[in-house]
């Protein structure tokens, strides 16, 4: 689904991502873990088109998407969520979702006057879809609240809901579990699993909560100091000395601190 090939990016003298290559297989929930400053978020930003890579290529289903801006990727079926959830704070939860589907007829004023009944029909369809998503995520009781008034965890669910309003098939989740309480976290994990199983979404997930990663992700990529140091399922990674070193911070300074 998503192929990352020898991607590098430096900020000034800091090599944030160095020659990283891996593939997010279609239908998988691929995890991306690593200590703070490992380059995970930078890599995500590169994949999602927020920043261009210095070198390397990103392919989505074989098509080169390197450096395409985020809204173009949206139309190609690649969407992302953010570590800190984004929302239209002065619009209701339902309106937040209803805004997402692209190329809506009603956005063209001229056409919307000439064929208003199509707009009405399309609107009803989007409304139904939004309500389905709200029911799926079990946040339908707050649908008429302003999104700005939601709790942090509910905003995370709304963020996930937004990706469900698209026809996207590849979703990048940036720390979906951060700041979410345990009960809500279970719900979030369940939603991700169901989307993956029932609707065939492919996920790539950055997460610090190892339990969540272990529950959801296979395979898991481990990054440290801008490099990909290991990949595999969580059980085997827990035994991997390199991974343990990276997380404990011993030995890694001698290897990579000098740079290459």
């Amino acid at each position: 689904m998503i192929e990352i090939e020898r991607v590098s990016r430096a900020f000034g003298g800091l090599q944030a991502v160095r020659e990283v290559s891996f593939t997010v297989a279609t239908g998988s929930i691929t995890g991306l873990i690593g200590p703070n400053g490992a380059g995970k978020s930078t890599l995500f930003n590169i994949i999602a088109g927020s920043i261009p890579p210095d070198s390397g290529a990103i392919r989505l289903q074989g098509e080169d998407i390197t450096g395409l801006p985020t809204h173009r990727l949206f139309h190609k079926g690649l969407v992302r969520t953010f570590q800190i959830p984004h929302e239209f704070s002065r619009m209701t939860v339902r309106e937040n979702l209803m805004l997402v589907p692209a190329a809506q007829r009603g956005e063209n004023l001229l056409k919307s006057w000439l064929s208003w009944w199509k707009v009405v029909r399309e609107d009803r369809e989007i409304l139904r879809r939004a309500d389905d998503v709200l029911a799926f995520l079990e946040i339908d009781h707050v649908r008429d609240e302003l999104a700005g008034n939601l709790s942090g965890g509910q905003k995370k669910l709304l963020d996930l809901g937004r990706t469900m309003m698209t026809d996207a098939r590849a979703v990048l989740l940036d720390e979906p579990g951060a700041g979410v309480n345990r009960t809500l976290l279970g719900k979030l994990a369940e939603a991700i699993e169901r989307l993956n199983r029932e609707r065939g979404y492919t996920f790539c997930v950055i997460e610090h909560d190892m339990d969540l990663i272990a529950r959801l992700c296979d395979p898991v990529m481990v990054m440290a100091n801008g490099e990909l140091i290991a990949e595999g399922d969580m059980a085997s990674l827990r035994q991997n000395p390199q991974v343990r070193e990276a997380y404990l911070g011993t030995g890694s300074s001698g290897q990579t601190g000098t740079g290459t």
Binding site: H86, L99, A103, G106, S112
Partner: protein, 286 residues
């Protein structure tokens, strides 16, 4: 007491004119993030467009209103495409300065085309209605009704149509709007068209109430910005409320201080808002 109520009537009239200007200015700010200094001159241009229609076709002013609104909307979109679009990605302050330049150009064009002397839509004296101790000009009622109608139309546009919702979304969270695939260029064009049309209506109403003059819009820019800030920048409903408050405050102030200080009242309210409640007085809702 009679005097206070009479001034309130005048204030609501001035307020609805200010509100129409402020709604456009605040929407432009919300979507494009800069204070549009040429907004007052959009008002003047709209008023003069209507004057041309009135004199050439010998129509009543209200019939010329839609023409003036459409023409000004077109002009606003054209100016955006010609001037502002090229510098959209630079710092907002540069946009602000260029809107100042646009204001100067528009004002000079008005003077070149229509002359710099005072003009009116119709000569002759209109007899005011006397309702008890109060006086009300028929024009005032027309202005109030038309302004109310326009405000309701804008409200329906913002809450019921996709483009209106997309506009609110863009002014709410620009980054998210862009990544969720909202057609930014189309929203920006619509914002200018609506802002221009509302400014033209405000200008025509101002011309009906008083007279036409090349600086008629420019002198109203300060109260319009005051109304925008009072209602919370980027919030159309706040701007309507702000316009009415500023209008009434300006009229009522003549009870205490000379009428020539009216703009100072608007300025004082603006400064007070910025000092004590920079987010505007309306909170929570749109």
């Amino acid at each position: 007491m009679v005097e206070v109520i009479q001034l309130l009537i005048n204030g609501i009239l001035l307020g609805s004119i200010l509100a129409l200007g402020a709604v456009g200015a605040t929407m432009i700010f919300g979507v494009l993030r800069f204070a549009h200094f040429a907004h007052g001159d959009f008002m003047a241009v709209g008023a003069y467009f209507a004057l041309s229609v009135v004199t050439v076709f010998n129509l009543p002013v209200l019939a010329a209103l839609p023409v003036a609104m459409a023409a000004t909307a077109g002009l606003a979109v054209a100016i955006d495409q010609l001037v502002y679009r090229r510098i959209r990605r630079v710092q907002p302050v540069i946009l602000l300065i260029s809107s100042f330049a646009t204001a100067l150009v528009l004002r000079s064009l008005i003077q070149m085309i229509w002359g710099s002397s005072n003009q009116v839509y119709q000569t002759g004296i209109q007899l005011p209605w006397r309702i008890g101790p109060f006086t009300l000009k028929p024009d005032h009622l027309l202005i109030f009704l038309a302004a109310t109608g326009l405000v309701i139309t804008v409200h329906l546009f913002l809450t019921r149509t996709r483009l209106g919702k997309a506009m609110r979304a863009m002014s709410d969270n620009m980054n998210l709007a862009l990544i969720t695939g909202i057609p930014a260029d189309r929203v920006i064009m619509a914002t200018w068209a609506i802002g221009g049309a509302l400014a033209a209506a405000a200008g025509v109403f101002l011309g009906m109430d008083t007279r036409l003059h090349p600086v008629m819009g420019w002198t109203l820019l300060l109260p319009i910005f005051a109304a925008t800030i009072l209602g919370g920048i980027g919030r159309p409903y706040g701007a309507i409320f702000g316009g009415l408050v500023i209008g009434c405050a300006m009229e009522l102030s003549t009870l205490i201080i000379p009428g020539s200080y009216k703009p100072a009242v608007a300025f004082a309210i603006m400064v007070a808002t910025l000092v004590f409640r920079p987010q505007g007085i309306i909170k929570g809702t749109v």
